[in-house]
């Protein structure tokens, strides 16, 4: 008895709402919204602050591009605002998500007012938080110590004028982005005739073109010194100095190196956005290392979550360069498109079936589904317990976990039923 087919939505009735919710109005969110609109999907973009832009709005310039970030953002935002496929809500947040891919019932808080809407898929682009820790306690002249983001904001002003000495320190345990920033600043500062020292533990140059950039700035006279662990900051009459021993030199040759500097630029700790945990609960998705979105499983990289129809783009999963974020946005939107045109009927034939008459509604399948693809429904005709779980054909990944866990064996899996398995076992020992 395959009662599952009885209850809504039947395959022929099942529609994919061609509407994407993008959460977060920074660069990742903007790029995602743009991509989705390009493919003809309508887009709802929500931003929790007053205006779009996010962290990108604080950048002074981009790596390997002459584009001005503020101009780039301005263009993007104004074209989104003009696009009639895109609705933008600022001061808005995601409050609740029910349902499954294609038919999420989403509750938004739009400027304090609750609004429900049907959404086909959700792209999370909530970005990250930065936390900066001063490298030293100084009484006066704290203005000489800037985190990379603070430096970005004041870059034009600080880089102008007479030759100054900048020390850029990139601590080891960081993402690629800290290294690339140091290279980006070095180049510009050198062009403005400043002295630049870069202290690093590992120069990450995996991004295309960065190794070349590294060599280029090195040739231009930027001094690279490996090792950040034994840097000592000294202060005398308002002047700062940095003392270190080059750890790469043999002990005999190692002499103390003293650099008098005007500015000390250090990288921030990158943290998941403050809401990430709460949002993960709302979305019923797993978090990954460090509390960022996305589980540490290569099957989900780069943009997939453990729920179909929910994607992570940009710094909320891991900070990345703009062109990579653009690719992520493309991947997410592509996947949404594929799902929106999937043949539900065909998928349903492979989806496990719940016999609602046998179902004790014990929630075991609901709790043990790795994909959170199961919804709880009530008032199901013929069900033993009024309601029953519903395996959404688009959300289900056909792993069979629920089938194996069901204590009443109420779920059967086409292709792997007891009969199917026994047929296989009949072949044991070469008998057929």
């Amino acid at each position: 008895m395959n009662a599952q087919r009885k209850y809504p939505p039947a395959p022929e009735e099942m529609t994919f709402e061609p509407k994407v919710l993008v959460v977060g109005g920074g660069a990742s969110g903007i790029l995602s919204a743009e991509k989705a609109a390009e493919l003809g999907l309508s887009v709802v973009l929500i931003e929790k602050t007053e205006e779009l832009g996010g962290k990108a709005a604080q950048l002074s310039f981009l790596y390997q591009s002459n584009l001005s970030p503020s101009q780039w953002l301005k263009d993007k935002i104004s074209s989104l605002e003009k696009n009639n496929k895109v609705t933008i809500y600022t001061n808005s947040q995601l409050e609740k998500v029910n349902g499954q891919v294609g038919n999420f019932k989403v509750t938004l808080n739009i400027e304090g007012k609750k609004e429900e809407m049907d959404i086909g898929a959700i792209i999370m682009a909530t970005g990250m938080d930065l936390s900066s820790k001063m490298p030293a306690q100084v009484e006066k002249g704290a203005g000489s110590f800037l985190s990379q983001m603070e430096f970005e904001k004041q870059f034009t002003q600080l880089a102008s004028g007479d030759s100054k000495t900048f020390v850029l320190v990139v601590k080891e345990d960081d993402f690629l982005i800290g290294c690339i920033n140091a290279l980006k600043y070095s180049k510009k500062l050198k062009e403005a005739n400043h002295n630049v020292y870069v202290f690093f533990d590992e120069m990450k140059v995996s991004e295309e073109g960065t190794e070349k950039l590294y060599h280029q700035v090195r040739e231009e006279g930027v001094t690279f010194i490996r090792g950040t662990n034994n840097l000592k900051i000294g202060q005398e009459e308002g002047k700062f100095s940095l003392t270190t021993i080059d750890p790469q030199l043999p002990v005999k040759l190692a002499k103390e190196l003293v650099i008098n500097f005007d500015y000390y630029i250090f990288n921030e700790d990158l943290l998941p956005g403050a809401d990430t945990g709460k949002l993960a609960e709302i979305l019923r998705v797993n978090l990954g290392p460090g509390g960022f979105f996305q589980e540490d499983n290569y099957h989900t990289e780069p943009v997939y979550s453990n729920r179909q129809g929910i994607y992570f783009v940009g710094a909320c999963r891991m900070p990345d360069l703009l062109h990579n974020v653009q690719e992520q946005a493309g991947a997410a939107v592509n996947s949404i498109y594929q799902l929106s045109v999937a043949d539900v009927k065909e998928l349903m034939e492979k989806t496990p079936l719940i016999d609602v008459i046998k179902c004790a509604y014990c929630l075991t399948c609901y709790r043990s589904c790795p994909w959170n693809a199961i919804d709880l429904l009530y008032e199901i005709e013929g069900a033993a317990w009024d309601g029953a779980p519903y395996l959404h054909p688009l959300a289900c990944q056909k792993c069979g976990c629920c089938v194996a866990e069901c204590p009443n064996r109420a779920i059967s899996f086409p292709g792997y039923t007891d009969e199917d398995m026994q047929k296989e076992f009949k072949k044991i020992g070469g008998k057929v």
């Binding site: 046998k358 004790a360 929630l363 075991t364 033993a384 204590p407 009443n408 064996r409 109420a410």
Partner: protein
């Protein structure tokens, strides 16, 4: 709900060893939900019995079935015909189910395949905890939702005793047991209702619990008397 646990297989094999036609009957309610005696456990147990008996060279006819609720006559009546074909029923229901079966089929031998363990709830998938002893006179209003009868190892009403250490009960061994009265204290503190902790609670009326004998509720208002 009622939480149970399948009896050790050795015990099941031993008790059923003298029978040649065994019906393993699961129950699709409480014990299915706590993953102890549903259709799946019934099939597994049946398969295990069959394998064991094959190994012992005493093949057996064993069938697995399950019933909506083994504690209701109407549901178990559906098995009347099937019952005639088997010598013994290994019931995977709670103790209530086993006894309902015996009541309905007095000529049959019904064996329990489950230890009925307690009334409780799943803390998470795979972890169940006792939190009610059906004492018949609920005090949860006083302790604001934490049962001292169940959660305190000594069922104290004026706890915690001197064995409470860092929130743990004195009998904690390999498995840590939380001190029920510590939990009550913390909860009342959070609610700003610590006053209750200073009241001397008088001896409890245990006659409403099992200590008053097997209990029975009779409600004339819902009883149906034919011919009325």
């Amino acid at each position: 709900m009622i939480i149970g646990e399948r009896k050790p297989l050795e015990e099941v094999f031993d008790r059923t060893s003298s029978f040649n036609k065994i019906l393993v009957l699961g129950c699709e309610t409480c014990v299915a939900v706590c993953l102890a005696g549903g259709k799946k456990e019934a099939e597994e147990t049946a398969e295990a019995i069959s394998l064991h008996r094959k190994k012992e060279n005493q093949p057996v006819e064993v069938k697995a079935e399950s019933v909506q609720r083994q504690c209701e006559f109407e549901f178990i009546d559906e098995f009347k015909d099937l019952m005639n074909d088997y010598d013994v029923v290994l019931s995977l229901a709670c103790g209530v189910g086993v006894q309902t079966m015996v009541d309905r089929y007095p000529e049959k031998i019904v064996l329990p395949g489950l230890n009925t363990t307690f009334l409780g709830y799943p803390l998470e998938q795979g972890v169940w905890m006792e939190n009610c002893q059906a004492c018949g006179d609920c005090v949860l209003d006083k302790t604001h939702g934490i049962c001292p009868i169940t959660r305190c190892t000594k069922s104290m009403l004026n706890g915690p005793c001197g064995g409470s250490s860092e929130g743990k009960c004195e009998i904690s061994g390999d498995i840590e047991i939380e001190c029920g009265w510590h939990l009550i204290h913390e909860r009342l503190k959070a609610l700003g209702k610590l006053d209750y902790m200073e009241e001397v609670e008088p001896p409890k009326n245990w006659s409403t619990s099992f200590h008053g004998g097997p209990r029975k509720i009779v409600r004339e208002d819902v009883k149906i008397v034919r011919g009325e």
